[in-house]
Amino acid sequence: MANTFGNSYGLTTLCPIINGRHNNTALDKITRRRIQLLKENSASPFARIPNTYFARLFILNDVFFEQGNDVARDHLKSKYLVFTSNFHGDLDTYLSGMWQHAEAEIRHIWQHAVAFNNVQNEKDFIAYIKKCQLTTSLFFNGSTDDTLQDQLKSLYIKQAFTEFALTHQGKTAAQLRAAFNQFIRQVDIHNPVSPAWSPGQETLSDLNPLQQR
């Protein structure tokens, strides 16, 4: 199993967190708190990072054993910041976009990761993440592997077309053709940016002024 699935990429990274404290709080707890305070959906920094399908951050405390006394087993020497992301395209481009669009959040989240203090610029960040990368096993992409913009445009058109069908049912062929031409102009099919759904959008757009019968 590889990191790619068509044009989609499944990134898995484990970044060790420094075993230390700041103001009497362990650095992994500080990091977890920062992750938990990140805004979600449209307000998430990942909504700004191009081509993110789905991303997740969490802290891995230790490995778990299903059975038996685990005292004598292997354990992690530190806690890990786990960052996974499913996106469109190649890794370098994605990580560049990540740095360019969310540098402040990246610095904040990764601040206490081992050796992150050496990361000064985009190039360092890409190298750092690659060093922490694991091969993603069993990667399955739940959407198409088109660019995010294409997918958001498709979702918009799907919604708009559903509403078109609902509002123009039963019209004559001539009326339908006229309405459909108008619809095609409205959805501006070759413009991927607008009108379209926005990254992180979680409910239908408010397209139809006559929602209520």
Binding site: L166, Q169, L204, L210, Q212, R213
Partner: protein, 513 residues
Amino acid sequence: MNRPLDLDDIQGNICKGYGRYGFPKARYFFLQFHTPDQGRRCLHQLIPLITNAEPWAADGDSPLKPDVTTNIAFTYAGLEALGLPQRSLNGFPGEFRMGMKSRADILGDNGPSAPEHWDPVWQGEGIHAWVSINGRDMDAVETRFSVIRGIISDTGGVSIRPGHRGADNTLLPWQDASAVYENGKVTPKEHFGYVDGIGNPYFEGCGNDPSRLPGRGKLNKEGQWQPLATGEFILGHVDEAQEYPLAPEPHLLAHNGTFMVYRKLHENVTTFHHYVDSVAQDFDGSRELLMAKFSGRWPDNGAPLTLAPDDEAKAALDQQLASLTEKADKGDACAAAQLKALKDQWIDFTYADDKHGSRCPIGAHIRRANTRASLETQKGAFNTPSALDDRRRLLRRGLPYGGGQKEASDATEQGIIFMCLGASIERQFEFIQQQWINYSNDFHLGNDKDVLIGSNNGRLTDKHIIQTQPKSGKAPFFCSHLPRMVETRGGDYFFIPSITALNMIAQGIIDPT
């Protein structure tokens, strides 16, 4: 097949839909136990009245069919009020302990269906037990009710919780229910005019006639009908996953018992008929066909759309029915057999030949509530064709309520007392309600909801699609702006103990150690 169950230990409403046995009248009421001792004493007096699941027969060893039946079930609070040990209480599933009100988000009980709008009886605490009386007529129900009321007043410390909304905004201490009558005759219809309550599951040991199995059981690899595992419907028995359902300790507390959902579902008849009238103007077919495309069955006689998918086929079916009935009534045995075979198709069908929903729409009510192996993505995808459905079947009980007014409207009292039984409320009822009634991902219909009982809100995209055969040249028909046809007016989750467990609860000897 039909491995023996202790039917004399199982409450009768689990195995019998009383309506089908000639009990068109019912009264449901709810008890509050003020002290555990008084509650148990009252229960002890009630147990001899409880109807078990033994078959009724005209002669022989079986008991005769009574004039009236009585059953009892308890909420989590009720079991607590009867003094069950905490360890036994802890063993009940989470959703049962929480009760229906707390599950409103999952069930889509929002807007006009939100718990704050429910009948007064459901406001606050104190619903401990549900008692049902089903009778051949109202006199039989009243007679039994006064016996029970006598027991309650004799023991003391138990009260009947009032506050069921009745006709003309009166509040009653009980909920009466009745089959809908037409010209003085009992019909199997509800207040929108549909024949209801047709497709109940058949499980191992249920005591029902094996001829009722086709269409009601599960499908095996060879496409034959087999009884569902007992443990899907009765605790203490192995279920479709070859496991014992989650149940409290001790074993005897749960064994031969089950869970029940009680819901008072108000029917907005004016909204329904206005909507049908308005959409029917644009629909290519009769008003009856449109109604059938909502439910999956023809309203007048319950014939499934798989059997008669359009007005023409329905007219031919009706003619065939009439002709066979006439001949059969004159003693023609061959016609009688043909008639039975035809009527068997009311229940013995799948959607195997209707993948695209051109006969029965994919989002039609009966196709949502009982998916009949239609979720099999491709032949052989699962162990058996109905593997995904077998864990999500519901034993439907209950009767319509209200009605009988000169002018029924949204404001008048009418609807259905919906009761369904199963070994897991969460896996069966709640899943169906959340995923199949109020959502459609499994059917590839996006966010569409059930036309009749879905929590629609009259928006443009609250829709139902009436599919057509691909490449037929016909466009699908969209029903948009679906209003809220049905509103929840109250209800809760109940545990129906076995007769053995009832005795143990009454004696106060439930001991999980």
